[in-house]
Amino acid sequence: MISFLTSGFFASMLSFLAIYVALTVILHLQANVAGVVNFGIAGFWGIGMYATSIFLLRFNINFWISIVLGAIVTGLIALPLARILLNLDGQAVLVGTLAFASIVENQIFVNREITGGSRGLGTIPMPIDVGPYRFIVYGLVVVAFVVALILYAWKLKKAPFGRLLFSIRDNELLSRSLGKPTFRHKIIFFAITCGLIGLFGGLTAPLHSFLLPMMVSPTVTFTAWIALMLGGQSKISGAVIGVLATEFVFFYLLRVILPLPAEAAQMVPFFIYAAYGLMLVLVLMFKPTGIMGGKRRGN
């Protein structure tokens, strides 16, 4: 049992689950608190992951400083994008952020001198070198980051700033008459939360250890969205439960526990996406507020 808990496999499973919980919680903050429909999560996450690795490998900067720099780079890129997009309506934001993410993927592919392009970028070592325990120790560090994020999200929703964001999402025109530059607040909040996505992108780099452009695919975005819809959009616990439900049931249960023959196992990823879709349709039909329920705060 102990050897399973300290194994690279368990550590990797734990770390990836934690990363997806983080992405979904941030998505919840953007979509349900600030009312921004971000379909470019993969892009911001990818910028953070690549920027961190570039600072680490090409400039020999310490890993922990690199992830902070990666988060700042992500936030700074998100800022002008938010200025352009957030004035537009929800659908335009959706399409704009989705397009942004595919531009990011493409740029990683094209700028091979910096990113390694299709040859990849690596190797990113585990940042805490404690011999065989380095995987699980790092996994626990990632979990600690996610716990900190959840506490921040939880406090924010109760704080006056959170209420101001809710009011913007509820009725943007009216919120502009409250005496605060609400649009500026919304843009800054979006940039900061995108910076956080970048931070978790940076934390993902050592888990992949070798980066390829195809990792920055919309799958990351869709997984977070599906988890959020499934868990219930209005609560932080919904984001957590949603990730556990989708990732655990579909990914680990199907892949690990069911003993499938090799040919069938290759089909599993495709099956998972079909099942994701089916699950989403069923949830929207029978429990549109998600597993954790609660009143939807959106319009």
Binding site: R163, F166, D170, N171, L173, L174, S177, G179, P181
Partner: protein, 231 residues
Amino acid sequence: MLKIENVVSGYGEVSVLQDISFEVGHEVFAILGANGAGKTTLMKTIAKAIPLMSGSMSFEGEDIAGETSYEVAARGIAFVPQEHNVFPTLTVLENLSVGSTLLDKARKNEKIEEVLNTFPALKAISKQKAGSLSGGEAQMVAVGRALMQEPKLLLLDEPSAGLSPLYVDMLFSKIADIHKEHKVSVLVAEQNAVKTLRVANKALILTLGKIHMIEDADKLDESVIKEGYNI
């Protein structure tokens, strides 16, 4: 305190208001007019919800013509729109609380007490989502939220719309109280001339986007108003 001169405004290229000039002092000032006369357009222009096409506007002697909605709000102009004037997924208390983004915490709590005393009916529903309130309750929340801004000038766009006569009387007497007790000037746009003139000192009658007349409230009688309403 609010001075408007030769204001033209409207939507897109179309101007609705023509050459509007008037001044609001420390008083309850009514904007009267029939459906489509331009009352809402005027209120939105003052609150900066729509841009000014030409003319000048000043508040307490300072030019506000080029300012944004949050800047005039921060100066002390609180706007209660005719429609969509609450935050539907926030509770009554949260609606009030978000109104006072510029106050510190202690002052905010005092202010909430004050507003709940002005509208005691809100106490029982303070945890309810504003989107599920009746028209009258929502109107009280909207006015209460505006009071949370500690305004010097309160802009009310048709506060009586859709309310029963009893509620309208209650609301207008509250407006009179607010003016007296909180030393707030009130600019109220209304179709309901008779009830409005019971609380207003002065009235401006708008007809098809132009000023028909500006007169002290006690000098206005039914026949004059009917003329202004084109009936």
